[in-house]
């Protein structure tokens, strides 16, 4: 364990702090060089969440906020694997998601977009990966929505994801997009990622995961930072 060093962010694929086309970065991006930190106990560990905390429908956003009927929109199933750069699956790790409803409206009080809320859809969920690093959510395909970054700016359809992984160097908050979305080429948040990384944020339509007469399937795998040595001690 003591010899394990986790890789740094791969800046070939991760976005920079400052991406001026995304205007909010201008006053919020650190300007001074990062100080290289020698990893110690707190970087090589992180919070562990037990699945006993999860509710029965936490992974099913089509059911976890029903008040008087089914949520409106296109049902989808989003699944994939969480692994590290070494290709090792990351089991029993927490994934949290949040998203807009089918009309492109968030439940959040700050969202004032003039599109209807759905009384039967909150848009938040979570699950744990299984022993092989796999996860699966049922939800509604989120709609596109306008935002104030520039004239006629619209966010592409996306689902927000938060992952923990093996330790705090693995922490990842990201957004999953959908294949063929024409808004991607106009979105400064997506385009903030270097060209090499962009494809990695687009889910794949998955006919095998599609459930007949029920929900379209999309696959999205996560790769978290890896390390230079196996963290498991040889017996």
């Amino acid at each position: 364990m003591s010899n394990t060093i986790y890789n740094q962010f791969d800046r070939e694929v991760h976005p920079p702090y400052l991406a001026p086309e995304y205007k909010s970065t201008i006053l919020r991006a650190p300007t001074k060089p990062l100080v290289i930190l020698k990893q110690s106990l707190s970087e090589l560990t992180g919070p562990v969440f037990g699945d006993f905390n999860l509710g029965e429908f936490d992974h099913d956003l089509t059911k976890n906020s029903i008040k008087n009927g089914e949520p409106l929109g296109e049902r989808i199933v989003v699944h994939g694997k969480v692994m590290n750069e070494n290709g090792q699956p990351i089991p029993n790790t927490l994934i949290e998601i949040w998203q807009a409803n089918a009309c492109g409206r968030y439940v959040h009080k700050v969202d004032q977009h003039d599109a209807p809320l759905d009384p039967n859809f909150l848009g938040a969920g979570r699950c744990m990966t299984d022993k092989d690093g796999n996860y699966k959510f049922y939800t509604i395909k989120p709609g596109a929505y306008p935002w104030g970054n520039h004239y006629n700016a619209w966010r592409p359809n996306h689902i927000h994801f938060s992952l923990f992984g093996a330790n705090i160097t693995n922490r990842l908050v990201t957004q999953m997009y959908f294949p063929g979305d024409p808004l991607l080429q106009h979105d400064p948040i997506f385009l903030g990622v270097p060209p090499k990384g962009r494809e990695l944020l687009i889910s794949k339509f998955d006919l095998d995961a599609t459930e007949p007469n029920f929900a379209l399937g999309y696959r999205f795998d996560f790769v978290l930072r890896g390390h230079n040595a196996t963290p498991f001690e040889k017996i």
Partner: protein
């Protein structure tokens, strides 16, 4: 395999990541009471604000704190959108010194306008001895070291995070 790129947490994380704090009807897995201040007599409060490059308080940041001193492993999460002054507030215990290091908390900062999160640390002003010999603190340019040290004020420690400016907080490549 290539790492999955980061994207911003955006302005609407609250009902997904900090729902009870923001009064949404969804159970919250983690909050700002890393220990119970009633049950833990040695509990401390950590509080502060996050400022942008114009010195304006940021009301939609999310702060996570992780600490592991070899004995206590604690994690907390809090958004800056509910306190009237847009502070983050945590109850925890001060970690012990581990392997001769000065005690510290690991901090992860997320917000709209950050495409990738930032890592920093909170050290404690009442540990001048250990702070002066700490390897990490001593790797920081001397004139910036104070940005990592929370100031003890009575029963609480104040730690402001400046994203930019003269007192820009030190962020780490972890």
């Amino acid at each position: 395999m290539k790492q999955t790129p980061s994207q911003t947490v955006g302005p609407y994380f609250a009902y997904g990541l900090t729902p009870e704090q923001y009064l949404y009807d969804f159970k919250q897995l983690v909050g700002n009471q890393m220990v119970s201040p009633i049950e833990q007599s040695e509990a401390i409060t950590i509080t502060g604000k996050v400022f942008d490059g114009n010195g304006e308080v940021i009301p939609d940041a999310m702060i996570e704190i992780w600490q592991n001193d070899g004995e206590n492993k604690l994690f907390g999460r809090f958004g800056t959108g509910t306190d009237p002054q847009n502070r983050f507030i945590f109850s925890t215990i001060k970690p012990q010194s581990f392997a001769g290091q000065a005690p510290y908390l690991s901090v992860i900062v997320f917000m709209r306008g950050q495409l990738i999160h930032s890592y920093t640390r909170i050290y404690f002003s009442d540990e001048p001895q250990l702070n002066s010999t700490d390897e990490v603190l001593n790797a920081v340019p001397a004139e910036r070291k104070h940005t990592l040290i929370a100031e003890k004020k009575g029963n609480l420690y104040e730690f402001n995070i400046n994203m930019q400016g003269e007192n820009e907080t030190v962020f780490f490549e972890v």
